[in-house]
């Protein structure tokens, strides 16, 4: 059964269409991440699911119920916000129980659920504090707790980790993943951070301009992006793209002529203008160069040591090619290095439609 099902969702503000004919089915217990740059409509979509925005057309079903016209509190959702949105004048306990009191849940039941949430999130000692006396990480735990006590099937997260510093973000990310593993609720998670998306998601929906570009597993999105936008968006640093031409099973760009054997063309082999994208970590270097179908020597124009690995920027076929090397390789600006390109790990897109070939 689908946990959340969105059918032909339209949303417009006046003459501006923000979401248009959007369809999305989310499985029971799935962790779905809505990913995109700002203004792509991902938070808007989440607000529509929550019932905080009135939609213009279409239907939303949660757990088989048509909730298109239902109030947010009637939809069986809990929501966690980027700014935590804790009620400043209430204690942590007051924050957790506010929704339950509104729903007229009996006192001992409130007690039981608050205690359970506090135990799961390890915020028991904080129950009597005001939000102002909590750290950022604690506040976000309380905000998650507020969704938890509602005992709902669907959790909505609106960039919950964006306000935290990098280390705390990584810690809470792991906690969220554990929480999902233990609770097995459906979670819909909005973020612009691809690391969060890749690490947390069962499936990622990449959005642009109110349209879902690709809805697939992180692995599929990373290895087989459906178009150039998705390919460019995922990966840091991103792919290097080369304009060229596919001719008789080879990719030609200027003087460089690459074989494409081993690449799985979805629509069979074609000839014509195309774009090749290659991830920095898929450029072969060191001992792997020998196995590559195409080998060459480039000059490291700029070196970015990052500890675990080293990035170099090198001129190749008229573009700045990004290459990720082992962090232990000693390399300096201007050094010559040997690299190899394996067509099986590259991505080819149609030059006009920018769709995957």
């Amino acid at each position: 059964m689908h946990s959340v099902s969105i059918q032909n969702l339209d949303l417009s503000f006046g003459a501006v269409d923000v979401l248009k004919g959007l369809n999305l089915d989310i499985y029971d217990g799935e962790f779905l991440v809505l990913l995109g740059s700002s203004g792509c409509g991902k938070s808007t979509l989440l607000n529509c699911i929550a019932g905080l925005l009135d939609i213009t057309g279409g239907q939303i079903h949660i757990k088989g119920n048509n909730v298109t016209w239902a109030e947010p509190s009637e939809r069986g959702i809990g929501m966690v916000f980027q700014s935590y949105a804790l009620y400043p004048q209430m204690s942590v306990e007051g924050n957790l129980s506010f929704g339950l009191k509104n729903a007229k849940v009996p006192k001992d039941e409130i007690r039981r659920r608050v205690d359970r949430a506090a135990e799961i999130l390890q915020i028991g000692p904080l129950l009597n504090r005001k939000p102002a006396a909590l750290s950022g990480g604690q506040r976000q735990r309380v905000a998650i707790g507020r969704a938890l006590v509602r005992d709902v099937d669907v959790f909505l997260f609106d960039e919950p980790l964006s306000n935290l510093d990098a280390k705390l973000r990584a810690d809470l990310r792991v906690e969220l993943k554990e929480l999902h593993r233990d609770l097995k609720n459906t979670m819909i998670y909005v973020t612009h951070d691809q690391v969060e998306a890749m690490t947390l998601a069962d499936r990622i929906a990449i959005m642009k301009g109110g349209v879902i570009q690709q809805l697939a597993s992180p692995d599929e999105i990373y290895n087989r992006p459906v178009n150039k936008y998705v390919a460019d968006f995922i990966g840091s640093p991103s792919m290097t793209f080369f304009d060229g031409e596919l001719k008789g099973g080879r990719f030609v760009m200027g003087d460089v002529n690459l074989p494409t054997e081993g690449y799985d063309f979805t629509g069979g082999q074609i000839d014509g203008k195309a774009i090749m994208g290659i991830r920095p970590e898929h450029v072969a270097s060191g001992r792997d160069v020998e196995d590559a179908a195409y080998r060459t020597t480039v000059t490291a124009e700029l070196v970015e040591p990052m500890g675990s690995d080293t990035l170099i920027w090198a001129d190749f076929a008229g573009k700045r090619l990004r290459v990720r090397l082992d962090g232990q390789m000693k390399i300096a600006d201007g050094d010559q290095i040997e690299i190899g390109i394996n067509p099986a790990k590259a991505n080819f897109f149609d030059a006009a439609s920018e769709l995957r070939l």
Binding site: E71, P72, S73, A85, L86, P88, Q89, N102
Partner: protein, 298 residues
Amino acid sequence: MAASSTNTPSGAKPKNTWTLGSVFVYGTLIILALYYLAPLYVMIVTSLKTLPEIRQGNVFALPDAVNLDAWFKAWATACTGLNCDGLSRGFWNSVIITVPSVIVSIAVASVNGYALANWPYRGANVFFTILIFGAFIPYQLMLYPIVIILRNLGVYGDLVGLIIVHTIFGMPILTLLFRNYFSSLPEELFKAARVDGAGFWGIFFKVMLPMSVPILVVAVILQITGIWNDFLFGIVYARPETYPMTVQLNNIVNSTFGEKEYNVNMAATILTGLVPLTVYFVSGKLFVRGIAAGAVKG
């Protein structure tokens, strides 16, 4: 090089507090402060003098002996027209006018502002524009129409009439104040409360109002001082028995027969100004903070 400790910058930067600039700035400020305080000083010393002492003409001189007769007279026995019970009647009239006007106007305006900021309905902006436009219409234009309205309601000359007028005239600025304040609160709080199942009033009383102390203080101060200091509405819409304190003060000071009792006039003026002054002194800091909080976002 030898250790030249005085010339080599090291450690905490020395602070030179007595520069020519600072002497000039503080000197100017002190002179200006004295200039503005002088009238208050004159009022206080004059009110403590007897009439013969005042006639000597030393305006700035301290009184020979502190004499509170003028204060008692101003409060309890000074005559305005037929009534000879001083300012006390006006004081209580003003209290009866101010308290309900302040409470009702703030209660209505805060809900107005909340609805406009958080529950935008069709035509909300038009409504708001019209309301704000009302603040720019000169009072004189509305004086007579309101007389007719109050007369038809049967409250012309009553304190109730004045309370209604003050409540209505406080609406534009107070609504603007509250709307801007509520707009400046994080929208996600409002969303969270909706997910938590709170309705229009639940969110207002349990989430929004507890966070509105600064703006409530501003509104209370604005309304108390504004309504207490009002003269125009008081003189137009009240009768001698229902005159607020300001109107009575005017009548005492401007009484045309007999000798000018400067000491009584000064005491009466200070008495009338005491309420707004107290309000400012007690809550000045909160006032500034609240104004700033409301001004952040429009």
